[in-house]
């Protein structure tokens, strides 16, 4: 680790903490329907959308109605995406003729299982990519099927978080807002206005934005090379801001057309974290006690910093087995060489690659600027653990906040009794229903990650199977032993956590993996949204209990410690045995000189 590297990490988190308050306030005003900076320009279009879609924007929904709207909206748009992908070869904006007879040799086919996986992936804000963008997707698919979801899946997440907060603040009302208004307002007042300047800044740094056919040219050493093009900048902005993470190109944010300079790298990391961070302030503002939001933000920041510093430490230390070979072992001042540079871009270096890896796994983004498969075992452990904690450290747009609220409810329930009162959080009693829903939330994640990984690690396929190639399901892994196990565990963790980043090393584009991972993404999104909204519904019907000196203080430093412990104990202990067989044993074996 170098001083400059650590400075960069703290510079990044300071910027996040600085932006969180004003942006959080803005989000609060938007969702309260107050007049904001852009109201004059955007209000007419908001109203137009309501009129066109025949929406009664004053209607207040109970949790069931709200959930139905979320699910219906998601399922219909998922189906449309599936159809669009299946017929992309017949649709316009396909300059490279993908899916047609004269497609280039490198083009890959859009199979039904791939379309299924991709449709779920983008609807659930996961953006797991079993395909490579530049060889599979037409420009129209990128814009309409994928970028559309980048906006609305993020907006849906925020809407749900806001609905959950409303469950706490209403007094025996039973309603938690209107999904259509929330969705519309978040998209046009929050996501769009922030995306435009980000996209322009990206373009200024060299990110491309065109609809040209790919360019083939001859390199200096007389090879033919093809340069893929596309509407990258506009998509890049929402990819990060909406914690989607689905890259335009296969190399994602490591690709120079997506992330050309250290400045764009900082900008992308900032855009991943700002909405989740700002939402904690919005939360505090809505519950009329900003200390409550600060407490959650503190928990997130602490876990984030621990993860980042551990990852940076191990990446900078590199692989001890290289030491005897005198391979530029020591880290340089700027952190751009030395240590474990395998799978990292020179323009980002150790510190910014470690930081990006932690940022993208803490949030449910999944964009990558280095290859996670090439991280040291401990670096890999942190990325895996971040996802398995439930994507609550900043987390996805909205999903991070409602996730950490679930953990807060659990913490209050477990330890809140210790003050001699039945537990309450934000003035609402935590009872049977809330605990049931919170436990379901935890259970679904544990089930999906563990059971699906277990299936994949022992399944065998017969010869000529439709599902997968012959033999063990683990044959699709690039590596054997614990590293192979990490690749498998990471895939199912990433999909269940709706992260979408890949450890890489798993050839996932087979019907077996496409479908199983698709189910994992579906469970990880909708089967966690339903309990959360049901919890909000139950809370919205309860009366508000005024806080007294005898109430469990959920803004104190003690609560911060407690919440961190519960996240780590409930989240990490569940996966600790599995992690032992992956990155942890790999680390010990690496020290003994055995690599995989």
């Amino acid at each position: 680790m170098t001083f400059l590297g650590i400075c960069q990490i703290f510079f990044f988190i300071s910027l996040i903490l600085l932006i969180a308050q004003p942006l959080g306030l803005y989000i609060y005003n938007v969702l309260e329907g107050n007049n904001t900076l852009f109201s004059g320009i955007l209000r007419p279009s908001e109203m137009l959308i309501y009129r066109l879609a025949n929406i009664d924007f004053c209607e207040e929904m109970n949790w069931l109605k709200y959930t139905q709207c979320v699910i219906a909206f998601s399922l219909v748009s998922m189906l449309l995406t599936y159809l669009l992908l299946m017929f992309q070869n017949l649709l316009p904006l396909n300059p490279m003729h993908f899916g047609l007879s004269d497609a280039p040799v490198y083009a890959s086919k859009m199979t039904p299982d791939l379309a299924f996986n991709t449709a779920i992936s983008f609807t659930t804000n996961t953006n797991w990519q079993s395909y490579a963008g530049e060889t599979t997707m037409t420009y129209l698919s990128q814009m309409l099927a994928l970028a559309f979801h980048n906006f609305v899946s993020a907006a849906t997440g925020i809407a749900i978080a806001i609905a959950v907060i409303r469950g706490f603040i209403v007094n025996r009302v039973g309603t938690i807002g209107n999904f259509w208004t929330d969705l519309t307002r978040i998209t046009i007042y929050i996501l769009l206005p922030i995306c435009i300047p980000i996209a322009l800044l990206l373009v200024s740094q060299g990110v491309i934005q065109n609809l040209n056919p790919y360019l083939t040219f001859t390199t200096l050493d007389n090879h033919n090379q093809t340069l893929p093009f596309g509407l990258v900048a506009s998509q890049e902005a929402i990819k990060n801001l909406g914690t989607n993470g689905g890259g335009f190109f296969n190399a994602n944010s490591a690709h120079p057309f997506e992330n050309p300079t250290p400045l764009t790298n900082l900008l992308e990391m900032l855009s991943i974290f700002i909405i989740p961070a700002a939402l904690t302030y919005t939360f505090g503002k809505m519950v009329k006690d900003t200390r409550q939001g600060v407490a959650l933000l503190t928990v997130m920041t602490v876990i984030f910093l621990i993860g980042t510093l551990v990852t940076y430490h191990f990446e900078a230390k590199g692989n001890p087995n290289f030491k005897p070979y005198n391979i530029n072992y020591a880290t340089s001042q700027l952190g751009d060489s030395g240590g474990n540079m395998e799978g990292k871009e020179l323009r980002f270096g150790i510190a910014n690659s470690s930081l990006f890896a932690v940022v993208t796994t803490d949030s449910s983004c999944g964009a990558v600027n280095c290859l996670h498969d090439c991280l040291t075992p401990m670096g890999g452990l942190i990325t895996l653990l971040n996802i398995e904690l439930g994507e609550v450290v900043f987390g996805g747009t909205g999903s991070g906040l409602y996730g950490i609220i679930v953990f807060a409810v659990l913490s209050v329930f477990i330890a809140g009794l210790m003050v001699g009162r039945t537990p309450e959080y934000l003035g609402k009693k935590i009872e049977k229903k809330e605990v049931k829903m919170a436990m379901l939330f935890i259970l679904v994640a544990a089930f999906s990650i563990l059971v699906f990984t277990a299936i994949a690690s022992v399944i065998n396929f017969p010869k000529d199977s439709f599902w997968n190639s012959f033999g063990s399901g683990t044959n699709n892994l690039n590596n054997v032993g614990p590293h192979g196990f990490s690749e498998l565990l990471y895939a199912f963790s990433s999909c269940t956590g709706n992260n979408g980043s890949a450890f890489a090393g798993l050839s996932a584009n087979t019907p077996f993996y496409n479908i199983l991972l698709g189910i994992a993404m579906f469970l990880g999104r909708f089967f966690m949204i339903i309990p959360v909204l049901a919890m909000a519904g139950s809370l919205s019907k309860k009366k508000l209990v005024p806080a007294s000196i005898g109430t469990f203080p959920t803004y104190s430093y003690l609560f911060v410690i407690l919440l961190i412990s519960v996240i780590l104990i409930v989240g990490a202990l569940t996966f600790f045995p599995a992690l032992c067989l992956g990155p942890i044993i790999e680390e010990f074996l690496m020290r003994q000189g055995k690599l995989f």
């Binding site: 059971v451 000196i549 109430t551």
Partner: protein, 700 residues
């Protein structure tokens, strides 16, 4: 929290009889049907059954002795885990069961004299009495069932229920008409109308309650059960998937993958067995603790609600003040000698048997006026009437009157006297300083002066209320006094608020008002007109001396009829919740250490260079345990023993201190959270050492 005034029916929790009985019950409770209600322990039971079967299978297969010894011990300790949890529950039930036995003994075949329709009487079994029957109970007879006295006055020994041997008076009409079956008439006779059907009597209900026969889980217990069941499933998933994971991991490894014994051991250690085993014991013990204070809670829910109470409504008289006002000053009207006032005051109080009246007589002695017997025929006493709020005496032609300020002022005006301003001012001063002014007048000189009656606040109450305030509980004093008097006493006693000139209606309003604000209210009451308020309050403690209606409306009955006990009940409720939270936190925090014992033991052989060395994961054995077998055994044994170790804590409750939530949390988090994290490390290490010394597990 012990209060000297309260006599405990002190039977130690560790009575030999109770322990013996609990030991037997622990085995009876192995019945899967009962255990099914406790998901955590049910999983342990299934685990024990599986290991038992496998153990016998391995004997038949002829496994190595070393392995059989290990498997035998694992099996035994898993059974112990279940038995210990059962034992904890049985211990908690023990005292209640013993008490129920005593009650049942008292309930032996009592005979009753029932009046028939024709006006004759017949002798019937008490258990055959129905609602509406009328019985006659004479001295030294046992009252056969619950009822209302419709005729007669008698002293009754209620020790069978209250444990208090001093007799109480029961009479027809008013608030002292309720009698309870099983109590004994000491003198005179009572005609009683039976008010309950057989099996519904107070004693029957009490037996049911103390036995815990139809004990229902409280809302918080149910929620906690869900949490524990959820955690159990999560860990079940984590351990069950370890099997396929290890199949993958051991592919290229010559050593054997972990067997079911270690997997089940890991599972049992991870699921929250500590709190799962002690949860019901904590609840039962909480109710039992309330009972030791002679308060009968009709449900655990009521005790739990007591812990949540935000507002306490306390009757002034008897709870906050000693209950009788005493004369502390005579204030004379202008131009009246103090001797005359003292004389008049005493004369008018001679027939007044109330403590106030007596205190006036005694106070008058300070002015040299001796107590006299008036048997003159010309003396007529005018008893106090609530309508006029005046009492007095007529001696020959002299009418002496004393009473409430405005009533006596009116009386004086009526007789043509003026009200001197000085007296008016004095009266206001008395009222403002929390006293009750009693004005004295006669028909000769008009207003003579006033008697300053003072409420005496019980010692220690101010500190008590300060403690409650620090816990976030507001106390509201309920009094029939006027607002001025009420305010003065309220400030002297240190309560947060008061309700003056209380009527059943505005009391009810106050409760509803507090509840709309989201607060939980507790109150005590005894009269029939308290019944609606008792029912409305979240915790309503009815006095045993109270009417049947009041007793039915409340969710607790104080057998000693001591309204101060409401505070203790709240404290017990809080302690119950704290104990639950503390043990849950402790139980979950324990898991960390167990991982570091079992995981290296399970996967220590993975990637080992040969069968005799440890693999890389053995490095996780940070406690330096001897061998894989000793490590797993130590964790399982620790997990079982911790239940036994914590039984006293579960039964007695965690140490209770009145402090604000922040400091309470800090204290308990340190003890049970951090303690729970740290304690298992030395615990498991010591057990590992002992196992090796006793040759019960291999050294490496």
């Amino acid at each position: 929290m012990t209060n000297e005034n309260i006599k405990k029916q002190s039977k130690s929790i560790y009575d030999k009889k109770i322990i013996n009985r609990a030991l037997i019950d622990a085995f009876i409770k192995l019945n899967p049907k009962t255990l099914f209600k406790n998901p955590v322990m049910f999983v342990v039971l299934i685990g024990s059954i599986i290991t038992t079967i496998m153990f016998f299978e391995n004997i038949i297969k002829g496994n190595k002795f070393e392995n059989l010894l290990f498997q035998f011990q694992i099996t035994i300790w898993l059974w112990f885990t279940v038995l210990f949890a059962n034992f904890a529950e049985a211990m908690a039930e023990g005292r209640g069961k013993a008490q129920a036995d005593t009650l049942k003994k008292n309930k032996q075949a009592t005979m009753a004299t029932r009046e028939t329709v024709r006006g004759t009487s017949e002798s019937v079994l008490a258990s055959s009495l129905k609602k509406g029957d009328i019985v006659l109970v004479k001295a030294n007879e046992t009252i056969p069932s619950d009822g209302e006295v419709i005729e007669g006055v008698a002293s009754v020994n209620e020790s069978a229920i209250t444990g208090e041997s001093a007799p109480v008076i029961r009479e027809s009409g008013g608030d002292r008409s309720a009698v309870t079956g099983g109590t004994t008439v000491l003198s005179d006779w009572l005609r009683i109308k039976i008010s309950v059907d057989p099996g519904q009597t107070f004693i029957d209900r009490m037996i049911n309650l103390v036995e815990g026969a139809n004990r229902q889980k409280t809302p918080n217990e149910i929620a906690l059960d869900i949490l524990l069941a959820g955690l159990t499933i999560v860990f079940l998933l984590a351990v069950a998937t370890l099997y396929p994971f290890s199949i993958y991991s051991y592919q290229s490894c010559p050593n054997k993958a972990p067997d079911l014994f270690s997997l089940i051991s890991l599972l049992v250690c991870l699921i929250p067995t500590t709190i799962g085993g002690l949860l019901s014991a904590i609840g039962i013990a909480g109710m039992d603790r309330v009972l030791q204070y002679n308060v009968l809670a009709t449900s655990g829910k009521a005790v739990e609600a007591a812990g949540d109470v935000d507002t306490l409504l306390l009757d002034k008289t008897g709870t906050i003040t000693l209950g009788n006002r005493q004369a502390v000053e005579f204030v004379v009207a202008p131009k009246i000698a103090i001797q005359d006032l003292a004389d008049a005051a005493q004369l008018s109080s001679l027939s007044d048997e109330t403590p106030e009246g007596r205190s006036i007589v005694i106070y008058a002695k300070n002015y040299g006026i001796r107590e006299r017997e008036l048997s003159d025929k010309d003396v007529t006493f005018i008893p106090f009437s609530a309508q006029t709020r005046i009492s007095g005496v007529n001696i020959n032609n002299r009418e002496i009157r004393k009473g409430a300020t405005d009533s006596i002022f009116n009386y004086a005006k009526h007789n043509g006297f003026t009200v001197p301003h000085e007296l008016e001012r004095e009266v206001t001063r008395i009222a403002q300083s929390g006293g009750t002014p009693l004005v004295v007048a006669d028909n000769i000189s008009g207003l003579l002066g006033a008697i300053y009656l003072k409420d005496v606040v019980k010692g220690g109450m101010k500190e008590r209320f300060a403690q409650l305030r620090s816990m976030g509980i507001r106390t509201i004093m309920i009094t029939g006094d006027n607002p001025l008097t009420a305010a003065a006493i309220a400030s002297e006693a240190g309560v947060d608020d008061f309700l003056a000139q209380a009527t059943p209606e505005n009391k009810m309003e106050l409760i509803k008002h507090e509840q709309t604000g989201g607060r939980l209210v507790a109150m005590t009451g005894d009269g029939t007109n308290d019944a609606p308020a008792l029912a409305q309050a979240d915790v309503g403690v009815a006095m045993n001396t109270g009417t049947q209606a009041a007793k039915e409306a409340g969710n607790m009955i104080d057998l000693d009829s001591n309204p101060t006990k409401l505070i203790e009940v709240v404290e017990i409720g809080k302690q119950l919740l704290m104990t639950r939270g503390a043990l849950t936190t402790f139980s979950i925090a324990n898991d960390v250490a167990k991982y570091f014992a079992i995981l290296p033991a399970m996967f220590g052989s993975l990637y080992a260079l040969n069968a005799n060395t440890h693999g890389p994961l053995w490095a996780l054995n940070i406690m330096g345990l001897h061998s894989a077998q000793s490590a797993i055994l130590a964790a399982v044994i620790f997990n079982a023993l911790i239940i036994i170790v914590l039984i006293p804590l579960a039964l007695k409750g965690v140490t209770y201190r009145a402090m604000d939530a922040k400091s309470l949390l800090q204290r308990n988090f340190l003890i049970y959270g951090v303690g729970g994290l740290v304690a298992p490390f030395p615990g498991i290490w010591i057990i590992d050492q002992i196992l090796v010394i006793l040759h019960l597990a291999p050294v490496n």
